[in-house]
């Protein structure tokens, strides 16, 4: 396999060499790569270096998870891709972002939406004073394929999220957190996307609701063929639904692999899934993990 991700790929080989037990999922092998992020660096306010060389690739039809703790740089990575960094005074200073073979850096976010890449932002960001249905309709803002097609997609969104249909006339600001998350995802779907950059959908939601929303994401992925790049702190849930995962720490990818393998990885288990073969984790383990991590990076 060619090595699009540069550094990330080398690390992947290291991990795979000791871990690979079964072939990668279909999404990896047979399908084309949609999005390639090569070794990007992001600086905020001209001085704060937040991403220190992140590489990843998103295959068509897959759910790719971007994992890591708070402040690891997940949101920054997604915004770098969707070109929403500018309004945050952030800038990609190195590396490249390629979508379908074409560089998409420094484009208008609108252009990316028209190309089929749309972000669902962390914290949902529904338009509070617009009704749920109006929120969904704003997702179709860039479309030019006519009213009928948009109406059809509205029905499709309501099929995936029946709850939104019940709440269609309510102001989004008065709906619950789960409903707002559904509204934000539905809004993105209304743009007829090929790839959705989904940032922390589980944030602040009850486990049952998280489960439900991830279930819907999976069925959208399978039925509509929409690819997802999913940023999550909730490693456990994300790895159950994703095909492939990258683990980000302090602005670097420290590990990546097929989701099934990451789930079985002892370090991931210990540090991200909160379980350990040896029971309680000790400081010595932490140190050795840190050492190994530095070596990998």
């Amino acid at each position: 396999m060619p090595c699009p991700g540069g550094g990330a790929c080398r690390r992947r080989e290291i991990w795979n060499s000791c871990k690979r037990s079964k072939p990668m999922p279909d999404a990896e092998n047979t399908q084309e790569t949609l999005l390639e992020v090569n070794n990007i660096e992001v600086i905020y306010n001209h001085v704060i270096l937040v991403l220190k060389g992140v590489s990843l690739s998103v295959p068509k039809g897959g759910i790719t998870a971007l994992l890591g703790g708070n402040g690891a740089g997940k949101t920054t990575t997604l915004k770098a891709i969707s070109n929403l960094l500018h309004s945050e005074r952030g800038e990609v200073t190195k590396g490249s972002i390629i979508y379908r073979g074409e560089s998409v850096q420094d484009r208008d976010p609108a252009e990316l939406v028209r190309k089929g890449v749309i972000q669902v932002m962390e914290g949902r960001h529904c338009f509070q004073h617009l009704t749920v249905e109006e929120n969904l309709m704003t997702g179709a803002y860039t479309r030019r394929d006519g009213r009928a097609a948009v109406e059809r997609d509205l029905e499709m969104v309501y099929d995936y999220f029946p709850r939104l249909k019940e709440r269609r006339k309510s102001q989004a600001g008065y709906t619950s957190g789960g409903e707002q998350q559904m509204c934000a995802i539905g809004r993105a779907l209304m743009s007829r996307p090929e790839t959705i950059l989904l940032d922390e959908p589980s944030m602040g939601l009850a486990p049952q609701l998280v489960e439900q929303i991830f279930g819907i994401v999976k069925s959208v992925n399978e039925n509509e063929g929409v690819s997802f790049l999913l940023a999550e702190q909730n490693t456990n849930v994300a790895l159950r639904f994703a095909h492939y995962g990258y683990i980000l720490e302090s602005g670097r990818v420290v590990m990546d692999g097929p989701a099934a393998e990451l789930r079985e990885n002892p370090d991931v288990k210990e540090f991200y899934l909160g379980m350990s073969d040896e029971g309680r984790k000790s400081f010595r383990d932490v140190r050795s993990y840190r050492r190994r991590k530095r070596w990998l990076a």
Partner: protein
């Protein structure tokens, strides 16, 4: 004294209900124009957090352009279209030259920039059209100038036809704007941008397009108010003050509320007239209209800092 304040005015109102209606009508005419201008402020504020100091001079500039074009021999209706074109070009230029380079700067800088726009338009207007007073081309535009006499309660109510026209046109414009904002794709985008910039960007709404659009709408509003007010008071740089009447409307209605702008405008228009006639003239020697609205707004703000109709800030995660 107490009698003069609390009893006599109301006795007068009941004694001559036709005159009361006359006063309310006059108030309504100015009120709907205040509402219209306040709406222009609100749209610009919501979509760019800019308090548009230049709204007043845009009224003057639009009226001057209209009258100036007509003086050059252009037929009146073509003048309207051309003036709309000029207001559109103005919106594009402002977006390009002023807003785009300043995006992300603190609000106060953008506010200063609109003061700059004001001074620039004053200069430009004087150079092109001269500083002397002009007459609005009311008849040429086909606006009727007679009066309608009604006789409610056996009294007499005089409605000037140009006022009726102004009210109808302004009301149509307000209703049209509301339909535009609520039922169309671009209107939804304007409201969405007002709610959440980042989210609007994320769905592909372009700031630049929306900014040109709201400044153009402000330009259309400026033209309509310029015609209506110019037909009553002539076209001069003094016309600018009508836009400052929108300030107390905004204090009352809230900077972000579309409903607030409309109701606030009508309320201020009517209340200031009522106050002038029934309290101001008998007790204070008149001329209260210049300050009444501001005092009213200040009193309201003491009790409701977000204004009477400020859109409730929805707090929920």
């Amino acid at each position: 004294m107490l009698n003069d304040i609390f009893v006599a005015p109301f006795v007068d109102m009941f004694a001559a209900p036709d005159f009361l209606m006359q006063v309310l009508w006059e108030g309504l005419v100015s009120g709907i124009l205040y509402a219209l201008i306040a709406l222009g402020f609100v749209l610009i504020y919501r979509s760019s957090r800019i308090f548009n100091f230049a709204q007043g001079i845009m009224v003057v500039f639009a009226a001057l352009t209209l009258v100036g074009l007509h003086a050059m021999g252009v037929p009146a209706w073509i003048c309207i279209l051309l003036t709309l074109g000029v207001m559109f070009v103005l919106a594009v230029v402002i977006e390009r030259v002023v807003l785009r380079p300043l995006v992300g700067q603190p609000d106060i800088i953008l506010f200063m920039a609109t003061i700059g726009i004001t001074l620039f338009l004053i200069g430009l207007g004087e150079i092109i059209f001269g500083g002397e007073n002009k007459v609005m081309i009311t008849e040429e535009l086909g606006i009727p100038t007679g009066s309608v006499l009604l006789e409610p309660f056996g009294g007499l109510l005089i409605l000037e036809q140009k006022d009726i026209t102004a009210v109808i046109v302004a009301a149509l414009l307000v209703v049209g704007l509301l339909i535009f904002l609520n039922k169309t794709r671009m209107g939804r985008a304007i409201r969405a941008l007002g709610d959440d910039h980042q989210a609007a960007l994320s769905v592909g709404i372009s700031l630049q397009t929306i900014w040109v659009l709201v400044w153009f709408i402000a330009g259309i509003i400026a033209l309509v108010t310029g015609i209506a007010w110019g037909a009553r008071a002539g076209v001069s740089f003094a016309l600018e003050v009508i836009a400052y009447k929108a300030l107390p409307v905004l204090m009352l209605g809230g900077l972000e509320s579309i409903t607030g702008a409309i109701i606030g405008g009508l309320m201020i228009g009517m209340l200031e007239k009522l106050f002038e006639i029934y309290w101001g003239q008998p007790l204070l020697g008149g001329n209260t209209e210049t300050w009444f609205a501001f005092v009213l707004a200040l009193i309201v703000l003491l009790f409701r800092p977000q204004g009477l109709f400020g859109e409730r800030i929805i707090e929920r995660v």
